[in-house]
Point group: C3
Chain length 343, copies 3
Amino acid sequence: MDVRFRLDELVARLGGELVGEPATTVRRVATLDQAGEGDLAFLANPKYQSRVKSCRASAVILAPAARDLSDLPRIIVGDPYSYFARVAQLFNPPEVFAPGVHPGASVASPIPSSVTVAAGASIDTDVELGEQVVIGAGSRIGRGVRIGSGTRINANVTVYHDCVIGAGCIVHAGAVIGSDGFGFARERDGSWIKIPQVGRVVVGDDVEIGANTTIDRGALDDTVIGNGVKLDNQIQIGHNVRVGDNTAIAGCVGVAGSTTIGARCMIGGQAGIIGHLRIADDVVVSSGTLVTKSITRAGVYTANLPVQGHGDWVKNFAHLRHLDALVDRIRALEQRLEESTPE
Amino acid sequence: MDVRFRLDELVARLGGELVGEPATTVRRVATLDQAGEGDLAFLANPKYQSRVKSCRASAVILAPAARDLSDLPRIIVGDPYSYFARVAQLFNPPEVFAPGVHPGASVASPIPSSVTVAAGASIDTDVELGEQVVIGAGSRIGRGVRIGSGTRINANVTVYHDCVIGAGCIVHAGAVIGSDGFGFARERDGSWIKIPQVGRVVVGDDVEIGANTTIDRGALDDTVIGNGVKLDNQIQIGHNVRVGDNTAIAGCVGVAGSTTIGARCMIGGQAGIIGHLRIADDVVVSSGTLVTKSITRAGVYTANLPVQGHGDWVKNFAHLRHLDALVDRIRALEQRLEESTPE
Amino acid sequence: MDVRFRLDELVARLGGELVGEPATTVRRVATLDQAGEGDLAFLANPKYQSRVKSCRASAVILAPAARDLSDLPRIIVGDPYSYFARVAQLFNPPEVFAPGVHPGASVASPIPSSVTVAAGASIDTDVELGEQVVIGAGSRIGRGVRIGSGTRINANVTVYHDCVIGAGCIVHAGAVIGSDGFGFARERDGSWIKIPQVGRVVVGDDVEIGANTTIDRGALDDTVIGNGVKLDNQIQIGHNVRVGDNTAIAGCVGVAGSTTIGARCMIGGQAGIIGHLRIADDVVVSSGTLVTKSITRAGVYTANLPVQGHGDWVKNFAHLRHLDALVDRIRALEQRLEESTPE
């Protein structure tokens, strides 16, 4: 596939102000450093503006404040990064799959003829698939599942019975949607009685779910993932969690049961949120931070440790085990100084 | 499926004292807040007792101390949460699978006729399956594996050769049992020689293993998961780990090789336990805590950080890098005060 | 399979100095504690040397400094652990798979006759496999993938289109190679535009990839895993990460996008490395440590917390939220003491 655009074509489609030769043709997007002949580069972060001068791209996307940093043909737009994303989508349209059911797949529900089902996939009874849904190789779609149009399920994904996935979603390989929540009642002897998990997982539209991410079904009610939510790889979402629209969660995050996360939040990698909390809209949680109480106001929240050379760490962190005693010593000092200082 | 019970039927099956109309019929369990006509609610946590008054359930499960909080028909029992779990099981019996091997499955061992093997599953040679075992779609059961009666393996699970899983277990989608432990000897040039991992994973009875959880096979001896152990999603268990009976481990926990965890422990989400440790029985580890030394006594153990607004965090945590210097300053103050204070 | 070696045969193959009866025959390797008749034990860690005396193995591998700790037949070598690994490989050669394509597999590319493809596996078009490659049950090899000779892909692995895996690699069950990186541009309304991920994952030779580990494809350029790299289970590698030769990463580690890790590094379990950093060669990161800045020099780096009984933790860690105020109090004390002490 050879996709080329003239700059004036791009501006006609996506907007922006064109400076320089309109017939300049570009075939790819590229970073400032690596761009060459035929590439369209972009400056998203002002910190890299020194690289614009030496950039060898055929054209560049710049913010208004940076318009004179280059003599190259250029497109001036308010948000070069989002513009770059749109151009990249033009150059790299989603793969088109030939519709049809692979002879090595097993399909037990009527499905639209525009649907693609790959080798080794299996679709149980009472499943409803929208138009142009793609079910990847080896994936399992459980009984009663509903999936909206255009959603693409990659290989070796498991969707448990009765779960709902919206339209325009992407689910990456190895993801598991609708496994039982971790719900047990404890007996006096320490053994556990399983609490049946009878809720579902309900995923909105335009959601992306990363590879090997797991989302448990609700215990009594549903687990709900809002529209436009982006989940990276290896995330664990507990039962009855609710994630608000357009919230993005980075890799390896764990969210324990019954926690509600607001809209437009950004949760950093390896962060954790314990159960039964409420996180407000527009909250940013830094990487590696464990959230142990509800957050009621938008803002950035952090609790992680400054990395050190091991020797320094041994010296410094040993005191953490005795911080309370240290505070006592300071208090004693204050008191003695108070007593010994005549007013 | 429409399952209904009269309260006197429930008490006849599960015990408890019935207060109010014995013929009251319930069809579901529900939380105090969401319960309505036909629902059986429960008060497990005294903190929610104010909600009992306004509860619109048809009946409610209460502890003896709470028996007069409601005028609704009610069942009085010592542990309402565990009673609720048993009622929920009555209302939601495990799915019954039609026995038989799907034509899209591959089975290379003789198996009982009561076993269910779903589409795309494959069972290697020398496998022994108990009665009514269920092997989910796309799952792989390796050579020489033994699985006890009634165990249900969900979709896309992999069990490596020679591993043993007990009876009455549930293994969720994407779990991997018996992959090689992470064992290498380092050469002088920094390259690694693989140490063959020739132990097995041996899983007891009534164990639940969460989605995408991984349990490595032992290096020389076995990795052992005791009876009644409950493992949440995305847990990593290293080679030669031993987990005692009825221990419960929450999501995203990592346990490094050769560590032994006692019985009836509870390990919080995203906790980590390094290798070659011994954790006593009845130990509780808080979420996000890294255990770096053996724990010899029952109790609750914690090491995680209080989350803060990012600005406060920057101010406070910068000092962590200099805690040792801070202690030196306190010591100097104490000394000077000692010297300047005549006895 | 019954594999036996005389000690003189082992020394002829692997080197070392033989002390004692050359015809002593061993059938297995074992730990000092568990070894018995027919076993070859080893002392790798001087800390266990008291166990050599009571060891009941038929023979033992010792370092020169330990040569007189035992009267057993013994092999004296500079690095007993690496010698043990080599002996263990002799006793436990890798499984030999019968070549051929299982009738339940789907293969859409021409492949060498020495390749093994198990039940339920599917291989897309334009795939190139080396000699004796093994593709496990239910695994998916995407379009245009290249895999070098002798590489073994276990069950339910997914390799996305166009990725490259070298020779002699082992990929464990559930691993995902080449899923989309987590790349989105944010719109003003908080919604996200997907940035097409058009790079590949390129994995070197002799790499081991653990169960359910995920490696994202690059955004524009490739994600690169060097030769001899060892990745444990449940690791997440973000897009455009580069991992240097012979680096070993333990379980549950997350490496965020565009970070470069040097050669021969060792990253402890549950550690995290944020994006866009550079980690030098020969860096060791302790378990549970979050690396938030580049590391330019070899050495050991740590940031984790000492675990405590919960009560002690509550007392000590509460002060962390007020460390800045504590430092102010110390400063005030110093100042007052300065003022009150006449020079």
